[in-house]
Subunit: 362 residues, 2 copies
């Protein structure tokens, strides 16, 4: 923090300086094949358009229900939980940010994997929470003993992102049980694509928070809905902090349209089935081209090629109008995270990868 010469700059000294999260690009060109932010390639439940047409927009003049009741009812019915076990927010990022602020105040380091969602260390930075990144093993698996040391909290995404690697609920339960003094967050943003959820453990472990999003499997990234499920005590504290930040977070349209998405279970399951089928097919195609990747249970594949640097492939694909995600970070700088799109989009991707491979850029 350098001291400015100009006295009028004094206020800057007291600004919370941070290194913000950098989201994947949102190109304005709608022709781009967008496989860079793990969005769902299919539209949200068809009932949403119909419902949107029948909403009484004059009611937008009123504040929304602080408890997002209609959405809460739909989620509680679907997941067989009580309203006291549910917390909703502006996407799972909002839920996670609020959880970091609420639960991680011990002064001891919060633990999460070294290769993981790159927002965790940003939240820790924002709230000045000490943290330790625990090294995944060679196969990108967590080492459970790493999470059995003294800590101020634990965050584990399952399946992990950007790797797609799924951990067993038994291992996660061991970690939760070993840490009664810490809140353990299992970030299940991608669990709907083939993972087993830790939800069944929330009645048994008061310190477990399971976080979900509507942005992936429910195809509603644009509406910003996330939620967490946990013990009534945990949720109570989280709500207290949230109501100390903003009373009315979920707007009227997110509440109504989000509830409609939950009600259409068949569409939800059909969408997931299509994405999983495409993912498995693309895995075979990529293997055939010599790519290597951990087996993914998410809606993305984290792939590397032994002969062609990921950065080169990333740049070549971008020139061709195909956006995937690439991080210039230790241990993963030769990987691409490729979102599973529609079958048509994946065919175009594969054809382009073949053509890039043929020219073998270095």
């Amino acid at each position: 923090m350098r001291k400015e010469n100009n006295d009028r700059m004094g206020w800057e000294e007291n600004v919370r300086k941070v290194t913000p999260y950098v989201p994947g690009e949102q190109p304005e060109n709608k022709k781009v094949i967008k496989l860079n932010t793990n969005e769902c390639p299919y539209p949200p439940a068809p009932g949403i358009r119909k419902l949107a047409g029948s909403i009484d927009y004059s009611r937008l003049r009123l504040y929304p229900d602080t408890e997002a009741k209609r959405l809460s009812e739909a989620l509680c019915g679907y997941y067989h939980i009580m309203p006291e076990q549910l917390f909703t927010g502006i996407g799972s990022d909002d839920v996670l940010a609020m959880s970091f602020l609420t639960f991680f105040n011990s002064g001891k380091p919060v633990l999460f994997p070294d290769i993981t969602y790159s927002f965790y260390d940003v939240w820790a930075g924002l709230f000045r929470i000490p943290y330790q990144q625990k090294k995944l093993d060679e196969k990108f698996r967590i080492v459970k003993e790493d999470y059995m040391t003294e800590n101020g909290g634990i965050v584990i995404p399952n399946p992990n992102a950007p790797t797609g690697v799924l951990e067993g609920v038994d291992v996660l339960e061991e970690i939760v049980a070993a840490n009664p003094g810490s809140v353990v967050i299992i970030d299940e943003a991608y669990v709907d694509f083939g993972g087993e959820s830790c939800l069944k453990l929330i009645d048994r472990y008061e310190n477990l928070l399971v976080v979900r999003t509507f942005s992936k499997s429910r195809a509603m990234a644009g509406l910003r809905i996330g939620f967490a499920m946990g013990s009534p005590k945990l949720i109570h504290y989280l709500k207290d902090a949230k109501f100390s930040f903003n009373s009315y977070t979920m707007n009227m349209l997110s509440v109504e349209l989000g509830a409609e998405a939950v009600r259409d279970e068949k569409y939800f399951q059909d969408t997931i089935k299509k994405i999983v089928a495409t993912r498995e097919r693309v895995k075979k195609e990529l293997l055939g081209m010599g790519f290597v990747f951990p087996d993914s249970k998410g809606n993305f594949i984290f792939a590397a090629h032994p002969e062609v640097p990921a950065k080169k492939i990333f740049e070549e694909l971008k020139v061709r109008g195909i956006y995937v995600r690439y991080w210039e970070k230790p241990r993963i700088d030769n990987y691409l995270r490729i979102t599973v799109g529609t079958d048509e989009e994946m065919d175009i991707l594969i054809n382009n990868l073949r053509s890039i491979m043929k020219n073998k850029p270095e």
Copy 2:
């Protein structure tokens, strides 16, 4: 923080304990005359319903634009500012919460009036920011010298809530100019109803942040839109913090429908005119009944009656299905904050007040 006997409770010690803000009641009974949360009695711009019907809901699968571009363009055009001078959020509460987190980190007390928006001390509590409440004078006016002592930041609502008292821009400019070492927030939630804005000062004072909302004059409390205007440097820091909390706050529908509200300037001005006319008429009626109140420039009147306790009137009105706001707090526990509704609603209110006065409850 008591130590729990049960070891499994250990995590609770590290929870951020807070006393949350308590918003005004949102009764589910739609027949209630709701004059308790300063909502607009008229619907939002008519183009909103039409636009909502034409939105491509399949695009909800994609993340929204992180810069809320369409909304930003509309606001920048309307207020003649640059995008670098604008920050948007989930209502002005979100904007204010993020501002407290970003700017008030000096360890010195943040200053705001003793009678004011009751969320300021909640945010200070949430973020462990020391604060001092400066006593308004007998006429509920701020004493400008109070804001010229050492401080870690200043928040002044103008017009003030719940009093409705408007301060002159000249006085506020003196305060801003006297505090180059602090960020000064002028919370203009109600300024559209007859106040002069400090917006014209943002080019001159790098430390001034002007905060606005769509929840009052723009009749969109249900959509959750707020914004702040200030120097590019101030806004840059605020955005950095926001992007360290949640990349995608403004959802697609809020961006589109909010922009539409801004575009319909005539409807906006007509709505304000109607509310102001009703407010002035109600002032006369209340005076005729013996009520006293500071002259309000908001969409509410903060009134007391010398003979009948406010709490009694509040309770009597509630029984009759009319909700106003009452706080059992020092200095204001004999006042009611009455939102200006439609003319019809205010006629019903006045008739009921007359009937209550006749019986003079004690």
